[in-house]
């Protein structure tokens, strides 16, 4: 069973949700504390959402200096899968494991609601179980989720197919659906060039259980396992 390390920072608050989702989809999940210097043989690393260090200074700005981040860096450098969700995405950007930054939502308020996104890139450690272009409904809940990057970086991300999730545009009949934060190019998630490091703003761990009404997030937990073990697994087609 692949070992999934869920890194807890002081202020992480999606830690249990992420742990349970990883377990539900076949991972041997455990917590790693931010002071730890060892990931204890992790195959997969997830940085969960929350408010690490209270988001003081800037989201993720303090967490990047945590001792555990050295180990995460090494794991990533060796090609190990790393997923950052929400605050985890912010930490990955602050740590320069992913490009760009996540700034205050354009509407200036915290936004919590389900949004529709499309899976734009399935050639990553966390999306290989999805069909290309799969449309997912996932919850977002953040105050600082507006992805920004330089023109060059944006061009590069697009050219290299490194936009992993994109908010679906508004339609006349569903005016509350799309881009919740004013993100550049409607970007909801990106990856590094190798595709082993992925950062996303929506919360797949809150959309991976039928009773919660949403199941489209499950692929983020099955992908790193099934792609690793057996690339012929059936694809998740969203909902």
């Amino acid at each position: 069973m692949p070992r999934v390390a869920v890194v807890r920072f002081p202020g992480s608050n999606c830690d249990f949700d992420t742990l349970r989702a990883a377990e539900r989809y076949g991972g041997e999940a455990y917590f790693v504390w931010h002071r730890d210097v060892d990931l204890r043989g992790a195959d997969i690393v997830i940085l969960p959402g929350g408010f690490s260090y209270g988001d003081y200074l800037r989201s993720g700005a303090i967490a990047r200096f945590s001792p555990v981040m050295q180990a995460v860096r090494r794991h990533a450098a060796d090609g190990g899968p790393v997923l950052g969700i929400c605050n985890g995405f912010q930490i990955l950007c602050e740590a320069h494991l992913l490009p760009g930054a996540l700034l205050r939502n354009a509407g200036l308020t915290f936004v919590s609601k389900p949004v529709d996104v499309t899976v734009e890139q399935i050639d990553t450690a966390f999306t290989c179980d999805y069909e290309p272009g799969a449309r997912l409904r996932l919850p977002v809940a953040h105050g600082e989720g507006r992805f920004v990057a330089s023109e060059d970086t944006l061009r590069l991300l697009e050219a290299e197919g490194r936009v992993v999730l994109r908010y679906v545009a508004a339609t006349e009949r569903s005016p509350f659906q799309p881009n919740p934060n004013g993100s550049a190019n409607h970007i909801a998630g990106i990856c590094n060039a190798a595709g082993n490091i992925v950062g996303i703003m929506p919360h797949p761990e809150r959309a991976a259980d039928r009773i919660l009404g949403l199941t489209g997030g499950a692929g983020f937990f099955t992908s790193p396992i099934s792609c690793h073990e057996d690339s012929s697994q059936p694809k998740v087609s969203g909902q």
Partner: protein, 770 residues
């Protein structure tokens, strides 16, 4: 243990050098009257020191002592087989299946929010979270009940926006989903908004811990944030009317730090479930004073603290300031001496200080030293329990009686179709999407029914069951007739919970009233409590605790009496939960319950006819109970596709809301209904907009229609078959020869845009999506 006589206390405490002498003026400044001060001198056998006076002023404030309400609160039903912990602890606790229990409580933070909305509301959330996790429960949901003056005034918009942001930022950071709430706007709240926050937590019943100090020699530890000068006399501030001068009270509003709160939450639960501590209490209102004195009194012991040991944020704080500071995110913990190092180790892991500041004694005295010198020595039990209790005169005002006797607005309204649009566009009734999208409602991955429905529902991880919760009060009705209005509040909360399929279990309440020393206010309070008690007795839903907030008055006068009811219910099988919106075309629509068509106190009269008055429909508690039982049984038998409570705005609004649907569906359904036979003797306006209770609108598959009718008959619930859900986007109501017809897309726009439009919310969604 011996409780010593007064004499031992007499000579013990001394004033510090340079301290102000206790003069009648100083006593008045401390909000203590002659009777109260006399009792203090009597029980000490001497003049109190200034520090002691400060201690009394905090513990004998209305906020801490319940001196005007205690005698009335005693009339609440508080027992039942499900009750694990009734009133008197940090939070009430009810039993759930499989060894689980639910801890829940509601509290007000009205006055701080009136002068500093962001921090006032944020720290209100912080306080209620601590009340729940100090019982050993992990907070799993937040709800809130808010009242403001009309949004046409910029000041009210400022307060509304600040309060919502404060609640959101705090709860979001700690990681507790906000599952529901209510927001209303009325002139009476201008200058005195209400901010009531409720928290629901889950625990193993075996992990329950009470806030009673025990074990002579056990150590008191101060855990969490350092003590500063913020919030000194917050409890006293909460116990007086708001005035022009209140703005200068801004420094008394505490500042919240949700990050520390999250650490405190995790550390506290680890201490409790690890059985490392004897007792724990939040340093809430009146800070160290109330937490230590109340824990000692509950345990029947004394305590001795040294304020010189309390970690402070600032140099040179006096014992007076340290005892009365309301700095946030602090806990008082009692542990056996042999466990202190383990307690400190757990706290250190969570980056918190845990500092021994005193110990439990056997002499029953609440004793405080400052660097060795005794500055407070008060018989502890008497300090907590001997505040004089009052039962003020209660008399209904003539004005209230007249208002009720007036039966009709001057002008009859012709445009009954337009009236629905007006009501759906009124911020009281309109969608609160603008509010709840600022609250994280899905963290903890347990939210089964999110905000925006009749009640919020979460599943309990690892079990088959779930919890439903709702918070309700229609203050317009309580203002007209406090007894019936309070009954209606309990009935509505129960109906909302039952509409999801959950069985109502118990309530917590937050009783917001004006100055109790005015007879008309105390009348409202007494009558409302009588109504709550009667309704709770009838439903078998005991009162497990709550909070009283008096002196909600501004220069504009007293608020409408607002006894907010927070109810929790048990959904035995989470799979059976019922949503509140119509689900599919061709489903059958039924109206359960009857209408008298009485319009007294209705939103229709208030908002469309600009008239508040008349006698409201009497609450039929038996009919309510039958309906609740029917709803639970129908959900268990999987007969329902949707169930929606019918309350403010009446039947027309309930039907419109069920048709409009939630904010994230691609578009609204329609419905084609014939109400001709529903209440043939009732005038049209009363039929559409009357607010009789004991009613819900439900939908079911065609196959379920017959069993549903049979089940309603068996439960003695009147059932009326109204028509079908349609895919076409119109809501059509046929009443005899009259056909009312609305475009549901138009209603949808009115309903969802009403508040954003008033708040001029930049609609990022649309701009960015194009």
């Amino acid at each position: 243990m011996t409780v010593p006589g007064i004499d031992s206390a007499v000579t013990e405490a001394v004033s510090l050098p340079g301290e102000r002498p206790v003069t009648p003026e100083v006593v008045r400044e401390h909000n203590l009257n002659e009777l109260e001060y006399g009792r203090i001198v009597e029980l000490l056998g001497r003049t109190p020191t200034l520090t002691e006076l400060g201690v009394f002023s905090a513990l004998w404030s209305e906020h801490c002592s319940y001196k005007h309400s205690k005698l009335v609160l005693k009339t609440f039903p508080t027992s039942g087989p499900q009750v694990v912990q009734g009133p008197g602890e940090n939070a009430g606790v009810l039993r759930l299946p499989d060894g689980w229990a639910v801890a829940f409580k509601i509290e007000s933070h009205n006055h701080p929010s009136a002068v500093e909305p962001y921090q006032g509301a944020a720290t209100g959330v912080g306080g209620i979270l601590r009340d729940v996790f100090t019982m050993g429960a992990r907070p799993v949901a937040l709800l809130n009940s808010l009242r403001f003056g009309p949004l046409e005034h910029p000041r009210n918009r400022y307060l509304f926006a600040g309060v919502v942001r404060g609640i959101g930022d705090y709860g979001n950071c700690v990681g507790v989903p906000t599952l529901g709430g209510e927001v209303n706007f009325a002139q009476g709240y201008t200058g005195n908004p209400l901010v009531n926050a409720m928290c629901v937590g889950l625990l193993r019943e075996s992990d329950l811990i009470r806030a009673a100090a025990q074990g002579v020699g056990n150590v008191l530890l101060c855990v969490g944030a350092r003590t500063g000068r913020d919030g000194i006399h917050g409890a006293s501030f909460a116990s007086e009317e708001l005035s022009e001068k209140s703005e200068s009270r801004r420094p008394q509003v505490q500042v919240g730090d949700p990050f520390t709160e999250k650490l405190l939450l995790e550390a506290s639960l680890e201490l409790i479930t690890g059985r490392l501590i004897v007792a724990i209490q939040d340093m809430g209102a009146a800070g160290l004073t109330s937490s230590s004195a109340e824990m000692a009194a509950r345990g029947g012991v004394g305590v001795e603290l040294d304020t010189g040991l309390v970690p402070t944020r600032e140099e040179g704080m006096t014992p007076y300031e340290i005892l009365l500071s309301e700095s946030q995110e602090r806990m008082l913990v009692v542990a056996e001496p042999s466990r202190v190092r383990e307690v400190q180790a757990v706290c250190a892991k969570w980056e918190l200080d845990a500092t021994p500041i005193g110990h439990v004694t056997d002499d029953g005295i609440f004793r405080v030293r400052h660097h060795g010198q005794t500055v407070v020595a008060i018989p502890g039990q008497r300090l907590v329990e001997d505040c004089p209790l009052y039962q003020p005169e209660a008399r209904e005002s003539d004005e209230a009686r007249q208002r009720r006797a007036t039966v009709d607005p001057q002008e009859p309204v012709v445009d009954l179709e337009g009236a629905l649009e007006m009501l759906l566009g009124h911020p009281d009734i309109a969608s609160k999407r603008w509010v709840y999208e600022q609250y994280d409602s899905t963290v903890q991955a347990a939210t089964v029914i999110p905000p925006g429905s009749d009640a919020g529902v979460i599943r309990v991880a690892g079990t088959d069951f779930g919890l439903a919760m709702a918070i309700d009060c229609n203050a317009r009705l309580v203002a007209l007739d406090s007894y019936e209005g309070a009954k209606a509040a309990v009935a509505e909360a129960a109906r909302n919970v039952a509409a999801t399929g959950a069985k109502p279990l118990g309530i917590t309440n937050c009783l917001n009233f004006g100055n109790p020393e005015r007879p008309e206010v105390f009348f409202q309070f007494r009558e409302a409590c009588r109504g709550i008690a009667d309704a709770c007795r009838a439903f078998g839903t005991p009162v497990t605790g709550g909070n009283v907030s008096f002196y909600n008055e501004s220069p504009n006068g007293a608020i409408d009496p607002t006894p907010t009811i927070g109810m929790v219910g048990l959904l035995s099988r989470i799979e059976d939960r019922v949503v509140s919106y119509f689900d599919a075309p061709q489903d059958e629509v039924f109206i359960l319950g009857q209408t008298s068509g009485i319009l007294g106190g209705s939103a229709y009269w208030a908002e469309v006819c600009d008239f508040v008055g008349g006698d409201q429909p009497a609450v039929d508690l038996d009919a309510e109970l039958r309906l609740q039982r029917f709803l639970v049984a129908a959900a268990e038998q999987k007969l329902l596709r949707s169930a929606h409570d019918c309350s403010e705005g009446g039947l027309a609004v309930a039907l419109a809301e069920a048709v409009i649907g939630g904010p994230y569906v691609p578009g609204s359904l329609g419905a084609s209904l014939d109400l001709t036979g529903y209440a043939p003797d009732v005038p049209m306006d009363g039929l559409l907009y009357g607010e009789d209770g004991a009613r819900v609108v439900v939908s079911c598959s065609q196959a379920a229609a017959r069993p549903l009718i049979a089940l309603a008959d068996r439960h003695g619930v009147p059932v009326f078959r109204a028509g079908l859900v349609e895919s076409a986007g119109t809501l059509e109501l046929q009443v005899g020869p009259h056909l009312f017809s609305w475009s549901t897309d138009a209603l949808r726009r009115i309903y969802f845009d009403a508040i954003p439009r008033r708040m001029q919310h930049p609609d990022v969604d649309r701009a960015a999506g194009e």
